[in-house]
């Protein structure tokens, strides 16, 4: 039973009905791709995949998987942002813009057309609705224009009849004062922001004598994106801001989209943006609920750049059990990137695991900013630089954390208290050399 206010009838489907809806939608999108998009036509043919034969979600297992490397190879070959995955970009009135997907491997370009902005805008409206957005008020535009999220925010503002507030500059710590000014004057009820930026603006506000709960007064939902948050980080953000609901949105430029419901036990896949799976890296087959694997998705809006069977390089888990909220889509959690995965002792870990372990073993350290050092990992140790906790018990807290983490991960652990860390690294502990971590 639906235990939340639905965005529309799609939210009222049962999980089985949503599955059937997905099969129809995927078949339609694959058909378009095979007919119109050379990138997929060639690769589907080479894999012997015929969209007409797509009858059930299990049929996804027969399809090839693509990743950033394939897109970059196509980009090198075409010497253009056109990879053969773009639909309708050259039609008259397409109103095409390009956004960028940057990463360690290189930059690819995403084509947005007016039809994509409208259809994706409606679907992203659902995501924002789930995260607590309601009509009226102010939307502080929080994505820089190069980012694909920026192509959606104008639609969201109009769909919900909100005032569009544009902060000058870009979303980097040195512009935090300007964001603070926007929040103070326009008092949004709903705020979305890249996680590290939340800390930057809290710092900027503090310098101006504005406490966190004053800065966020009137905000009902704070939605963070760009990094997985642990339960402790969520509690920490609530405490810092006084906002009742802190939600997480996981979105990629390639149109993977998932959002917390009010129960906050995993992010619901946004049903009409994409279908997502978590698959085993070796077999390419879906993993069991709760097991870690690669997140592979198919975007469902066949305009502009279309990403199908796309492995975003994220490590995730999936949960198909019904959620208390009653929304039909499964929940996923993106825990980090494979490129940030490190081996220590007998384990492969993500920075997320370290943060989770810290807050579970020493609840006083929830939300603590820390860095995992490369030098430590090279010596087979987990060496953390951690911002010194306040108070008389600080030394014993760190001692306790050291022994608890060492027991938990079965490796030597060193924790060095530091006065501060570069602001941009707050949120999820990054892996850095000790020199990079210096202020």
């Amino acid at each position: 039973m639906l235990n939340t206010e639905p965005f529309d009838d799609i939210d009222r489907l049962s999980p089985a009905e949503l599955e059937r809806w997905w099969v129809r939608r995927l078949r339609a999108v694959f058909t378009v791709a095979a007919r119109e998009l050379p990138f997929y036509r060639e690769r589907f043919a080479a894999a012997g995949f015929d969209p007409a034969s797509f009858r059930a979600l299990d049929d996804l297992n027969r399809m090839p998987i693509f990743a950033k490397a394939d897109l970059l190879a196509a980009q090198r070959k075409t010497q253009s942002q056109r990879l053969g995955i773009e639909r309708g970009a050259d039609e008259p009135g397409s109103r095409t813009t390009f956004s960028l997907s940057s990463g360690t491997a290189g930059t690819t370009f995403i084509t947005h057309t007016a039809r994509w902005r409208r259809a994706q805008g409606m679907s992203s409206s659902r995501a924002h609705w789930w995260a607590g957005l309601r009509p009226g008020g102010t939307l502080v535009m929080s994505a820089p224009a190069w980012h694909s999220y920026a192509a959606i925010q104008p639609f969201i503002a109009m769909r919900f009849g909100m005032r569009c507030v544009v902060v000058s500059g870009t979303y980097l710590p040195r512009f935090a004062d300007r964001v603070v000014d926007a929040l103070v004057h326009f008092r949004p009820r709903f705020v979305t922001m890249f996680l590290p930026m939340v800390f930057s603006i809290l710092d900027a506000a503090r310098r101006r004598g504005i406490a966190g709960n004053e800065l966020f007064a009137g905000v009902g939902s704070l939605v963070v994106t760009g990094a997985a948050i642990t339960p402790g980080m969520r509690a920490h953000l609530k405490a810092l801001t006084g906002v009742e609901r802190v939600a997480e949105i996981a979105g990629t430029s390639e149109n993977l989209l998932a959002v917390d419901c009010a129960y906050a036990e995993g992010l619901h896949v946004v049903s009409d943006t994409c279908h997502a799976q978590v698959i085993d890296r070796k077999t390419g087959l879906p993993v069991a609920d709760g097991e870690r694997g690669s997140v592979v998705h198919c975007a469902l809006i066949p305009y502009g750049s279309l990403y199908l069977r796309y492995d975003s390089g994220d490590v995730g888990v999936i949960n198909h059990t019904p959620c208390a909220c009653g929304l039909p889509s499964p929940r996923i959690k993106l825990l980090g990137r494979w490129e940030d995965c490190f081996s220590i002792g007998a384990r492969a870990l993500l920075p997320y695991d370290v943060q989770l372990a810290l807050e579970e073993e020493v609840p006083e350290l929830k939300g603590a900013a820390c860095v995992i050092t490369r030098e430590g990992l090279a010596e087979g140790k987990l060496r953390l630089l951690l911002i010194e906790p306040h108070g008389a018990s600080a030394v014993s807290l760190l001692d306790h954390a050291r022994s608890a983490l060492s027991r938990r991960f079965d490796v030597p652990v060193e924790i060095t208290p530091v006065k501060d860390l570069p602001l941009r690294f707050k949120g999820v502990p990054p892996i850095l050399s000790e020199r990079e971590a210096e202020l």
Binding site: R95, F98, A145, W146, V166, S168
Partner: protein, 285 residues
């Protein structure tokens, strides 16, 4: 659009002369008003009960930041001004324009309804051209080179302080701008680059450089004419020569946040008569 009744606007009320017109004002006047009225983000230029659909924080003003505001028809008219500028610079359908600036810069915002809400037809959309925006920070210069190499824009818009890092990134990558780019338009956050700066930029970028005149407080954007070297004014701006040797601009489409007699500094009204656009008013600065 009828001009608003300025006596209703606190910022103008104290500047009105006996002739009912406000004294010409500059950014510093707006800043001093803002400093004494910290609760008003619009510095007395938007009347209290109005809730404009779009609020823009000005880049040129520091602490406290000052905001301007627009409603959808005004946004559309401003975008038409920008479309006209690019069209005079020879933009044709299916080309791409690339920005090396913040997404909050009006030239970027006004390019497409994909960049700001409530814009019905952006400048790029009017001309059927495509748009791509990098970010306006120097560390993104290598990525800007990637945009040039891959997306192959024929037109570039960049802020003056980014010219040097961009040139150095082009050199490092061994990329020649002239292979694909016809012109680069260079802007300042407020006002315009000098002719000398534009010449220097042209020789280091290796393409024709055109100047932009930008005054966000007045919703003012104008482009340098490649024929006469003056800034051609869209018919939506009214310009007047001040006895001080400066030029004041009134923006007729600005109703929500009126902009009447904005002093853009030392300049000369050159009148009409450019062969490229004989009826356009022109400013020399």
């Amino acid at each position: 659009m009828a001009l608003p009744h300025l006596a209703d606007y606190p910022f103008y009320r104290e500047r009105l002369g006996p002739d009912g017109r406000p004294a010409p004002w500059a950014l510093a006047d707006l800043e001093s008003y803002a400093a004494t009225h910290p609760g008003d983000p619009f510095a007395g230029r938007v009347i209290g009960a109005v809730t404009p659909k779009v609020a823009l924080q000005m880049e040129a003003t520091g602490e406290p930041p000052i905001w301007t505001a627009l409603n959808p028809p005004e946004l559309d008219r401003w975008a038409e001004v920008v479309g006209g500028m690019w069209s005079r610079w020879g933009a044709v359908a299916s080309e791409t324009i690339a920005f090396f600036d913040y997404g909050s810069s009006p030239m970027v915002l006004l390019a497409s309804g994909g960049y700001v809400g409530y814009l019905r037809r952006g400048a790029a959309e009017r001309l059927g051209i495509f748009a791509v925006c990098n970010d306006g920070v120097a560390t993104m210069a290598p990525r800007m080179v990637g945009i040039v190499e891959t997306v192959k824009p024929t037109m570039l818009v960049l802020r003056r302080d980014l010219v040097a890092p961009f040139v150095s990134a082009l050199e490092t990558a061994g990329v020649s701008l002239a292979q694909t780019v016809r012109w680069a338009a260079v802007s300042e956050v407020e006002g315009t680059v000098t002719r000398e700066q534009a010449q220097a930029a042209a020789s280091s970028l290796g393409v024709r450089v055109l100047r932009i005149l930008r005054c966000d407080a007045a919703f003012m954007l104008a482009g340098e004419c490649s024929e006469c070297g003056c800034f051609h004014l869209d018919r939506r701006y009214r310009a007047e020569q001040l006895p001080s040797g400066e030029v004041a601009i009134t923006t007729t489409f600005a109703v929500t946040c009126p902009s009447v007699r904005y002093n853009l500094g030392a300049a000369r009204l050159a009148g009409a008569g450019c062969p490229l656009e004989p009826r356009a008013q022109r400013i020399e600065c």
